[in-house]
Amino acid sequence: MSVIQTQELAVGYGGRTVVGDINLEALKGQFICLLGPNGSGKSTIIRTLSGLLRPLGGCVYLKGEHLNAIEPRELAKTMAVVLTERLSPGLIKVFDLVAMGRYPYTDFFGRLTGKDREKTREALGLVDAGRLADRYFNELSDGEKQKVLMARALVQEPEVLILDEPTSHLDLKHRLEVMAILRRLTQEKGITVILSLHEVDMALKSCELVILVKDGKILASGAPEEILSDERVAELYDIDCANFSNCLGGIELRNGGGAGVFVLAGGGSGALVYRLLNKQGFSLSTGVISENDIDYHVGRALGATVISEKPFEEISKSALNRAVFAGAQAAYILDAGFPLGTQNRRNLDLVKQILAQGRTIYSLRHPREARFLFGEDQDQWVFCPTTGVLLSNLKREEGRRQSKKAATSAAAAMG
């Protein structure tokens, strides 16, 4: 049964439509997220759905009834909100603030009954904030405040909970906690949760249904796994400096343009090294990696040239050749210390061909292991016990290379 439904809804302020043509349906116990860049109109939709703002066109139905026709007190018993506005309610203790949510239930003077107190304690417990009851609200941290405001909304005993950017200003721990609490509410209490977010990864990982809002319209809606494709996220946020990876559930900043590094990787050995080098501005190529490897996804998300092989297939000759070529193009060769097995044993040939070209290999592998795998001759190897050492070696070499380049071009100019 649909709890909230909108029909041709247009939202905005004073005649100016911010988002139009909104047709949504929220079912009981659903966890729904409005996703979009800042200024896309998420908050305007949220305010309209919660009845704080009148629709400019179309309408919102709450359990089949016209939202703006519902008596405010009755509405408050069905729907509660958590807003982004920063509160400074004065000298008020957490328990009393949460108890204010009993407003639609209490008598003319707002006196609390035993049941009201019971509900207040229960709500504080639900958000794991029972121990804050006697503190002044103003003394709390942002994360604690957010949980208390959620408790305040919960004592209204709503069937629908609407939250505007509940995770902004929060640290990671509280962000996760808030989302976990909300998910629990949908599952255990059957509350329909509608919230706006701007973090794609949080939406992907917690919501049942996402609604993408951009440029005054609904871009798409559906299960995040289905509609949050890498391209669509890039479109949603106009991202061109980073890549979103659906299966990693996160965003990687793209970089590149610096000196090329070819990373011998695989089996997850490359992921961290890629990120490290990417941050330092190196442009990456890597191989040969199986397409079911985490290194493949991270590398792709970072915008690296990934020379890959089909999942569970042995490395083909053509892939090997492409990798050798990419290695020859790169200024530096780096061995991330990948594990060598039957499927990727051609990487051994790759290393040997690179060595045959007289290249130096910077390696994160233990020298003994390298000797065992690639032979006794270790003149061409630079072993780095940590990524820090690796980085400083690369940087030193890069500085030398740059000055040499400058000298050559100066000589050429003089000649």
Partner: protein, 347 residues
């Protein structure tokens, strides 16, 4: 925990506001008694009791008590209570701790009309301006501004806009008053300035009989608003989401607070500081923003402080009376500052 360095006893009291409220009540009674007994003619407590209960034979004392000091003390009590609650309502309404009852321009309107009366030729041929006329003029000015503010309050969307408009009305009135003052005669000017500093002197029963019931009704009305006003502590959006009719609340808050201020200003002139500081005193001493407690506490504290300040204004340089606004500010500001400094949480 909140106010370090306080004894356990007072901490226990803070947990139970009804103790503190009765203490405030007791203080109010004491200050009333002091107001009546002290002065150029000192009246022993015993005589006071006898006069009040109609015993003994104290003709002079009876006149002093019943015709001069009691109406004046009651006026100070009701005036102080009215200003305190008016200030409290506006502080909640505008969610701004430095708002006072005059912020919407009510006293400026009163001052303007009083200035027109006292500083221009309107009173020519009447000798001196009668106090009744001044009261009437102040009431007309105050109510005119209340009507104006109410008309605006129904139109503007945000409370802050209303606040700024109120300030602008105040500036407009002051501008005209300043022009009038420039061309005024010296003696008129002196009287006018004394009026603008406020005074409860010369209150008679006729005035108290208007001030007390009207003030009482408005104070009760303010108390009836305490539930929605509490919800308003969380801001208009949250209040609305909990079922508060914001428009109705806005109109009634502005109306009650303006009417309270208009009432006091008409009879006593603009009395500074009480309306700003009493709500703060109540909040800081009780450690709460709950209006069910704050409204009665502000009434009692506003009344007590005003009665005591009026007493000081009367007796400290007797027979010369000091303007009450000078006393309220001089005594009150240091108290509020020291309470604020002791507190960790902001208001």
């Amino acid at each position: 925990m909140v106010q370090r360095g306080l004894s356990g006893f007072s901490r226990k009291m803070r947990r139970n506001p009804s103790y503190l409220l009765s203490l405030f009540g007791l203080l109010l009674v004491i200050s009333l008694v002091l107001s009546i007994t002290l002065g150029s003619v000192s009246i022993p407590l015993k005589d006071l009791c006898q006069v009040l209960f109609g015993q003994g034979n104290h003709a002079v004392d009876k006149t002093v008590i019943l015709d001069i000091r009691l109406p004046r003390a009651l006026a100070a009590v009701f005036g102080g209570a009215a200003l305190a609650v008016s200030g409290l309502l506006l502080q909640i309404f505008f969610r701004n701790p430095i708002v006072d009852p005059y912020v919407l321009g009510v006293s400026s309107g009163a001052t303007l009309v009083v200035a027109l009366l006292m500083l221009t030729g309107f009173s020519l041929g009447m000798g001196s301006v009668s106090p009744f006329l001044v009261t009437l003029a102040a009431l007309i000015g105050a109510l005119a501004v209340v009507a104006l503010v109410m008309a605006i309050a129904q139109r503007v969307k945000s409370a802050v806009t209303l606040l700024v408009i109120g300030l602008m009305i105040g500036y407009l009135c002051s501008a005209v008053v300043n022009i009038l003052m420039t061309f005024a005669e010296k003696e008129n000017l002196h009287n006018f300035i004394l009026w603008t500093l406020g005074s409860f002197s010369g209150f008679d029963w006729g005035e108290v009989e208007i001030l007390a019931p009207a003030g009482g009704v408005l104070l009760a009305a303010a108390y009836l608003l305490s539930k929605p006003l509490n919800a308003l502590l969380l801001g208009e959006d949250y209040a609305q989401s909990m079922g508060v009719n914001i428009k109705k609340l806005r109109i009634s808050t502005v109306l009650i607070s303006s009417a309270l201020t208009a009432l006091v200003t008409a009879f006593a002139g603009p009395v500074a500081f009480i309306g700003l500081a009493s709500p703060h005193l109540a909040r800081l001493i009780l450690g709460t923003s709950d209006n069910k407690i704050l409204i009665p506490a502000s009434i009692l504290l506003g009344a007590t402080v005003t009665a005591l300040c009026d007493l000081l204004a009367r007796i400290s340089f007797s027979p010369i009376e000091l303007p009450i606004s000078a006393i309220t500010s001089l005594l009150g500001a240091p108290i509020v500052i020291s309470l604020l400094m002791k507190r960790r949480t902001s208001l």
